[in-house]
Subunit: 242 residues, 2 copies
Amino acid sequence: MAQFPVLEIFGPTIQGEGMVAGRKTMFIRTAGCDYSCSWCDSAFTWDGSAKDDIEMLSSETIIERLEALGGDQFNHVTVSGGNPALLKHLDELIEQLHKRGIQVALETQGSRWQPWFGKLDDLTISPKPPSSNMQTNWETLDTIIDNLIEQERLHHISLKVVIFNDGDFSYAEQVHKRYPQVPFYLQVGNDDLTETDDSQLALKLLSQYEWLINKTLASATLNSARVLPQLHALIWGNKRGV
Amino acid sequence: MAQFPVLEIFGPTIQGEGMVAGRKTMFIRTAGCDYSCSWCDSAFTWDGSAKDDIEMLSSETIIERLEALGGDQFNHVTVSGGNPALLKHLDELIEQLHKRGIQVALETQGSRWQPWFGKLDDLTISPKPPSSNMQTNWETLDTIIDNLIEQERLHHISLKVVIFNDGDFSYAEQVHKRYPQVPFYLQVGNDDLTETDDSQLALKLLSQYEWLINKTLASATLNSARVLPQLHALIWGNKRGV
Ligand code: SF4
Ligand code: SF4
């Protein structure tokens, strides 16, 4: 039975981002990432700072913890990271959750294919724009998207690009042009991970959201896009575990 | 050729609510409503105050106006009201838009069935909770939902209930229990339609949103719900036509 490196299990809360924004969900945050984005808001999953908090947990233990926290008040779980697509045997957990009538969402940057991608209810692929200082491997991303389209998963997947500046916005246009069939989300980046005044942060993020909306409205390339804020950041600011 | 009573055509902007929140769209606001909700934010569509602004427009003219405003920067149109489900021949407009590759969304309170409901890309049915002072006709709503399920439209419809207080929340639970298969959205009501300070309004709406999230998290009945704010109100406050 596989064991997975887990850093946090929390909820119930709402999914703050993307294709199921606002959905009641539990979160499992796995440790480890093959990227090191300049503005990563979960750097503790890969920079060593929280390595003593990593627990190696089986699907069974993860589900016990979820149930202890969430009782009968959830039917949806989001696996986040780090990059949970590094985990080979995650289908064990997905299947155990499905057996209990629980849906499973997952977010990854799209640097690695896993055969279990096709089993997810909501898969968000979030390639990282230039401001992250990371390089997109387009061949890998092509393979992932092609596989999922072949498996008729278009209703269960989306692409999401986080935008910090004009260069990121051009990158987003490029991603959407390359994969026009895949539901496409633009999201405001939070470049202020230290602000502790939640109201100040919310107003700042809303003004950046308005900037992103206006850019999107002006782009004929992005007519089918959906532009969203991070709902949890608007409410809970930079707090972790909510 | 049918003519439709139109009060506003505007955009491109984003859809601020519900199943396609964040989607780039144009708006057509039709005049006339069979309800008179206590907190209606579009009372000018039915209370007589804007009756001199109503234009009777054909599909062709509506599309000309949309194109003049939106150019090549949209592929999605939202028909809102008032209650656009009062309009018998709206399928003419829907078909004309579809011919041009434009998707069509519509919102109605669910007081009236129209055979063209099955042609909409995104149909939001928003029955009104007790705080509106309106009475839901459950038989009519049953018929609408049954018809749409029979026509296999579950991917294209949603229910949305706007919440102002605890009584509304119980009503929402009742709606979701009655139609468990239909994607279900909860939305924060805006009870302050006169606030002109956008920042003040945004912070107030965010705190009401947090209240609604917490109630939803505690309700096992609403495990599958999605809870959303009105995005446009967070950004543009109570301004009309954005
Ligand atoms: S891919 Fe995600 S978890 Fe990894 S470094 Fe980038 S933002 Fe952080
Ligand atoms: S149904 Fe909608 S338009 Fe009609 S009165 Fe109620 S809120 Fe206003």
